[in-house]
């Protein structure tokens, strides 16, 4: 039976409610459940989940509801009690501090507030961010579903006022040594970053820390900043600030290939500073960067290495190898490949970070056949049927088709755990993954990966097989989850951990060339 409970004018954020939905689903007697705010999207979702009920016709986005398919009315009583319990628990955890309901009240309460992190539903963003900019408060805008027109208006206003408006869809920034939203604890140092890609920026900033240097500021722009419509407004704003910043000696710019006229504008600007500028337009035109006198990169790791070399007043060189001795790497590859059966020939890349998945596909290219994906390099490799994978596949599990009604897999790794079980079958030779730690991420992504890989290997063992799993961890020792602890958890399950996404991809390339030679 379908049961629905509605609370008028009760607001909770979507991630909290999605995580609660997940817990409630484990209650015995609950077949399906959705705990959410009465937004259009959630109402549509209740229909898709078979939880439609006429009571839901009258809810507004400010009403909270529980819709469940349960075996009896008693089970629904348990569901409601448990939801209340989880919500109260959350309230206690978050303390009893005063919480202003408007920006005016917030600023009265916190005079001198200089930064706002905004992660509210997209349709309310422009109004609220406008108010913040009016009060000279810099903004990190995490929300998505903000129109290009709104983004342009907000960024134009920020530029006019000399403020940061990082986003929309900006997940990563480190300001004055403080990691905001999805960022890593990187020590202070001479390298300033402006990044239009979240996990790409996390990878570069973390590796800069691993290579012994540090960051002055890490400014995010949101993924659309370098498209023609926005014209790189925030990257230019960020570059100007880093050029004028006495703590910044080297500047790093990270973005997917920009619109040509925006690339030109950005590269022209690099000529205006004596500070060396390292540019990774992931997979983009390197010659154009070189011609502008900046340093082009082969990978995100290469960007970090070049920036650190320049900060140490050394000459940067292209990096294309491994930290470990290559002979030892080859032995590891041989050892791993020798355990495969002849029909294990396919690749599965299962990523939580979109830029890392993109980098992997660009590095692998067409060396052992095309790679199918939900973010393919060529349209002909677009995956049609996500439930029935064939051939080589690399997925960005942070994309919309995987996150309807569920939090991003960096927050809730169970999305990927489910895919491990369905997507790694007896035809797969090697599985390539990222593990992104740091603030914002799940409290133990490596532990979750390790336990689901254990399950996958047990399933394959029953067929007399096992799969090679290759991982890299984006993060630092200073992150709450710890780089070393995370690495140990993965290695305990036989997962091969390389120091960067680029090296993990190169390892997989070696595995695949062996597999396809044999």
């Amino acid at each position: 039976m379908i049961k629905v409970d509605v609370r008028k004018n009760t607001y909770y954020d979507s991630v909290t409610l999605m995580l609660i939905s997940k817990e409630i689903k484990n209650i015995e007697g609950v077949t399906e459940v959705l705990v959410g705010m009465g937004t259009e999207l959630n109402i549509e979702l209740t229909e898709n989940l078979g939880l439609k009920d006429s009571v839901l016709n009258d809810v507004s986005p400010n009403d909270f509801f529980i819709a469940a398919e349960v075996t009896s009315a008693d089970v629904m009583v348990t569901v409601v009690e448990q939801v209340d319990h989880l919500l109260t628990q959350k309230k206690v955890e978050s303390g009893s501090d005063y919480r202003p309901v408007s920006i005016d009240m917030a600023v009265d309460q916190m005079p001198g507030a200089n930064m706002a992190i905004v992660s509210i539903p997209g349709q309310y963003v422009e109004e609220e961010v406008n108010k913040l900019l009016d009060k000279d408060i810099h903004v990190m805008l995490f929300s998505d579903n903000v129109s290009v027109e709104s983004e342009l208006r907000l960024k134009q206003k920020a530029v006019e006022k000399g403020l940061l408006m990082m986003g929309p869809d900006c997940g990563t920034a480190i300001i004055n040594g403080v990691p905001l939203a999805f960022s890593n604890k990187v020590k202070k140092g001479p390298i300033g970053i402006v990044g239009a890609s979240g996990t790409g920026t996390q990878e570069v900033s973390s590796l800069i820390g691993t290579f012994g240097s540090g960051v002055s500021q890490v400014i995010g722009t949101g993924g659309r900043d370098l498209k023609s419509e926005i014209g790189g407004l925030m990257m230019i704003q960020g570059m100007k600030a880093l050029m004028a910043d006495s703590d910044t000696e080297v500047i790093v710019l990270i973005s997917k290939p920009p619109a040509p006229e925006v690339a030109k504008k950005i590269l022209d600007m690099t000529k205006e500073t004596k500070k060396p500028v390292v540019v990774d337009f992931i997979g983009g035109d390197r010659e154009m960067i070189k011609a502008a006198g900046a340093y082009p990169c082969t990978t995100l790791e290469d960007a970090a290495l070049k920036a650190v070399a320049l900060a140490n007043h050394e000459t940067p060189v292209d990096s294309d190898g491994f930290t470990m001795d290559e002979h030892e790497i080859d032995q590891l590859v041989q050892q791993a490949v020798s355990k495969l059966k002849p029909d294990q020939v396919n690749l599965r890349g299962l990523y939580t970070g979109g830029t890392l998945a993109d980098e992997a596909m660009k590095m692998l290219g067409n060396t052992f056949g095309g790679i199918y994906s939900n973010i393919p390099l060529e349209p002909e490799y677009e995956i049609k049927d996500l439930e029935n994978l064939r051939g080589h596949v690399c997925l960005d599990l942070g994309e919309d088709q995987f996150t309807v009604g569920r939090p991003h897999p960096m927050i809730d790794p169970s999305t990927r755990s489910d895919r491990f079980i369905t997507d790694i079958d007896g035809t797969v030779a090697v599985c390539l993954i990222d593990v992104v730690i740091g603030y914002g991420s799940h409290e133990d992504p490596a532990g979750v990966v390790a336990s689901s890989i254990k399950e996958v290997q047990q399933k394959l063992n029953s067929e007399g097989k096992s799969v090679i799993v290759v991982a890299s961890i984006t993060g630092t020792e200073g992150d709450p989850q710890g780089l070393e602890t995370s690495q140990e958890k993965l290695e305990e399950q036989g997962i091969i951990v390389l120091p960067s996404n680029a090296q993990a991809v190169r390892f997989v390339q070696k595995v695949m060339s062996q597999v396809h030679k044999a």
């Binding site: 400010n62 978050s94 919480r99 309901v101 300001i175 600030a241 004028a244």
Partner: protein
Amino acid sequence: MNKINKLFTQELKVINMGLESFQKDLKSQDVDAMQMNWRPTAGGNPKMMDLLSRLKTKK
């Protein structure tokens, strides 16, 4: 000094509007961070929101 470079010299004071975990992470690092109890304007009712915004522009 422009406002961004001025920000680089200040202690961060953060207003968090939305996901509470972002504020909790900042608090755990002893950063001054305030959680707002944000609610959609007019309870998210599009008609009311439209009326309110028309009132505001008339002001």
